[in-house]
């Protein structure tokens, strides 16, 4: 009796021990002959997508099998931080550009200099987003940015000529005409996350404001522009909670004249069945407003075991090479970071010309000499936008508090 109970107990103990053993016997990611791991933020691109195929081809060309894992973009940052802490970072990491300087500061990423990656052909304004203290930490795979999509039918119905929209005043006048014609004006995303700041920046920079002083008179004029649009009913109240995806869904109803959205919606625009045009976001008193650059960098996280670095470098070079960039950027609906490929993209699809111009005018979010301080400014900024649009604070008061908050951190 006692013995069989003891046996059962020991069995239970053994099961526990073997469970514990199982959890620690997972294969080492750095094993010299194992597959090369690659993480990207494109869960929407399935295994049979052109992007996945490009990865596979680059793997074969470098003589290695690549194991690709996709995470949602915010999730990816957290996963990478945790993996780096455990010494289990992937060999190749495709990551959103404003995160690059943060990861670099954390010592997660290897510099292109150390790896011997050539970045000379890349547009300098795009490469800037991946720089920290004069060193570059990756190669942009392509770029996207924001512009104004417009619904031609709605504008024609309201009697608006797109060519007349050259600055904020003419844009607001167009919105007024649209509203009077019974349609809705413009939709964008002012959600309380990085997306909200991303969408506000073209207006912020277009006013002449700098991120180093978010409470300047110019900055207040940009927030006042948005606030007035909401107050006058040119923009729906739902923009306060809109992500860029839900904002696009509003535009896709065909009720809206304009939508501020990104390069990545081009494919959806074609599918929507609407007659859609694209207009660069105008500056306060004319010209094209600098929009923030979006898009990912291909980076190589630092590994304790350096033996795979050469292979990782070969894969990065292959993925970002001019030959592959056209395929990958078409797959991602991005504008290439390489001027020669941009020319090819425009030749194949003339409507991309607006986007190539917008990308050329775009600015890295970590610019304005901010670097890793950008997130410290961005969060108070989106909070200020939310507070002003929701009506809890005046634009001036909201931005003054944002400036104080970003200076305190």
């Amino acid at each position: 009796m006692t013995r069989s109970r003891l046996t059962a107990g020991l069995l239970a103990l053994a099961v526990t021990a073997s469970l514990a053993a199982c959890s620690s016997s997972s294969p080492e990611p750095g094993a010299a002959d194992g597959p090369l791991t690659l993480w990207d933020p494109y869960p929407q691109l399935a295994a049979d997508s052109d992007w996945a195929k490009a990865i596979e081809a680059c793997g074969s060309a470098s003589g290695v099998r690549i194991e690709r894992t996709s995470h949602d973009t915010t999730d990816l940052t957290n996963k990478v931080l945790l993996a780096a802490q455990q010494g289990a970072a992937p060999h190749v990491l495709v990551v959103d550009n404003p995160v690059v300087s943060t990861l670099a500061e954390g010592g997660v990423l290897a510099t292109t200099e150390d790896l011997g990656l050539d970045t000379a052909a890349v547009e300098p304004n795009l490469l800037d987003a991946g720089k920290l203290d004069g060193k570059t930490y990756g190669v942009p795979i392509g770029a996207n940015t924001l512009a104004l999509y417009y619904n031609k039918a709605v504008l024609t119905g309201a009697g608006v000529d797109v060519a007349s929209i050259r600055d904020w005043a003419s844009l607001t006048a167009a919105l007024d005409k649209v509203k009077q014609s019974g349609k809705k004006g413009i939709t964008f995303s002012a959600v309380g996350t990085e997306e909200g700041s991303f969408q506000f920046l073209p207006w912020f920079w277009g006013s002449g404001a700098q991120l180093t002083d978010v409470a300047s008179a110019d900055a207040v004029s940009a927030l006042t522009l948005w606030k007035d649009w909401l107050d006058r009913g040119y923009a729906p109240n739902s923009v306060i909670g809109n992500t860029q995806t839900t904002s696009w869904q509003e535009f896709a109803t065909g009720e809206y004249a304009f939508a501020e959205n990104g390069t990545w919606q081009l494919a959806n625009a074609a599918k929507s069945g609407l007659d859609v045009g694209v207009l660069a976001i105008p500056g306060k008193s004319g010209g094209t407003a600098p929009a923030p650059t979006g898009g990912e960098f291909v980076t190589v996280p630092v590994q304790a075991d350096k033996s795979r670095d050469a292979t990782a470098k070969a894969v990065v070079t292959c993925l970002t090479s001019a030959e592959n960039a056209l395929t990958t950027d078409t797959a991602l609906s991005y504008v290439s970071a390489l001027p020669e490929v941009q020319a090819k993209q425009v030749a194949a699809k003339p409507e991309l010309e607006v986007w190539v111009q917008a990308v050329k005018a775009a600015k890295g979010r970590t610019g304005d000499n901010l670097g890793t301080k950008y997130p410290r400014v961005s969060e108070p900024l989106w909070n200020a936008v939310q507070a002003a649009l929701a009506g809890t604070k005046s634009p001036q008061q909201a931005l003054t508090e944002a400036q104080a908050a970003s200076a305190a951190k």
Binding site: G9, A12, T102, L103, G106, P236, G241, R376, N383, T392
Partner: protein, 320 residues
């Protein structure tokens, strides 16, 4: 097995043991060992999945973490600096207030509606079982589905709720995007999700009340309301207490519904301690793990206090 059975009775003879006392002492240590061996899986589980994460969270909240020190180690000890920073943040009192309102209002309505429905279904009418099963749907749906559906229904521009209100001549209400309504909206969604849980537990509590008591009361001429007040409600008290406690712990930590519907906005109007903790730790490109962990620990303390109060009340009642 056979060998064991045969060997066991042979033992006392071989060693010529005098009496039962010694046998008992001898079987003492192995029995203890057996007990520990049985306990081991649970203890290991508790240590791995409860004690260690809790310890890590406390450690996180007491250190000054940056991205660099999070990855490479060596974060400086900060003492209570993170907690002081959290208390000094104007968001703290806002989040605390929102958490209290969210929790209390949710509990009152979840419990009230759950109890009303439980009493209603206790009367057994045709199709009552089917209807009761249908009421469980909110509980079975993944939170991401129910929260997204609520967000669509409450959308200012295209939501069905505003369309219905518009049909009866009420102006557009900005359910999710106005500071006045955002907290109310997430509470409504949370109540809807929580009612089935209260219904199920209170219903089973009602089934446990002996029908004779009700019979006797109605023979004495008690009205329906009198029976509810003097029989159902008092006899349901232990079940009510545990329902409310579980509901409290569950509601304090609600995160997904709020995050999906409003992200705690607009500008903090629906931020609770749970969403704020996430916002601090993961919601910004530069994580503030220390602050996030501090807020998380405060939440645990709140839930713990509620649990202790419950145990205290229960033991006092049992003593009576």
């Amino acid at each position: 097995m056979h060998a064991l059975e045969r060997a066991a009775p042979a033992q006392p003879a071989d060693h010529d043991l005098p009496g039962g006392a010694k046998t008992a002492r001898r079987s003492g240590p192995p029995r203890n060992l057996t007990a520990w061996a049985f306990l081991a899986p649970l203890v290991v589980y508790l240590l791995l999945f409860y004690v260690y994460p809790l310890y890590r969270n406390v450690d996180l909240s007491l250190r000054f973490y940056t991205v660099r020190s999070f990855i490479q180690g060596g974060a400086a000890f900060a003492g209570l600096d993170n907690y002081i920073a959290v208390f000094a943040d104007p968001t703290f009192f806002r989040a605390l207030g929102n958490t209290l309102v969210f929790t209390v209002v949710s509990l009152v309505f979840q419990y009230g509606l759950g109890l009303a429905l439980a009493v209603f279904f206790d009367r057994h009418f045709p199709l009552s079982a089917t209807l009761r099963a249908l009421f469980l749907v909110p509980w079975l749906l993944p939170l991401i589905v129910s929260a997204s559906t609520w967000a669509w229904m409450l959308n200012s521009e295209s939501g069905v709720v505003n369309a219905l209100l518009g049909a009866v001549g009420i102006d557009q209400v900005n359910w999710l995007t106005s500071p006045t309504w955002a907290l109310t909206s997430v509470i409504i969604a949370n109540v809807w999700i929580g009612v089935p849980f209260n219904l199920v537990i209170l219903y089973s509590g009602l089934r446990a009340i002996p029908p004779e008591v009700h019979e006797a009361a109605s023979l004495d001429g008690a009205s329906g309301w009198q029976r509810f007040r003097s029989i159902t409600f008092p006899l349901l008290r232990p079940v009510s207490a545990i329902t409310l406690l579980l509901g409290l712990v569950y509601t304090l930590k609600v995160f997904d519904i709020i995050w999906i519907m409003t992200k705690g906005g607009p500008s903090g109007a629906s931020t609770t301690l749970a969403t704020w903790s996430y916002q601090l730790g993961f919601g910004s490109p530069v994580p503030r793990f220390g602050h996030g962990a501090a807020v998380g620990n405060l939440l645990i303390v709140l839930a713990l206090v509620a649990g202790l109060v419950h145990i205290r009340l229960q033991s006092r009642r049992e003593a009576r």
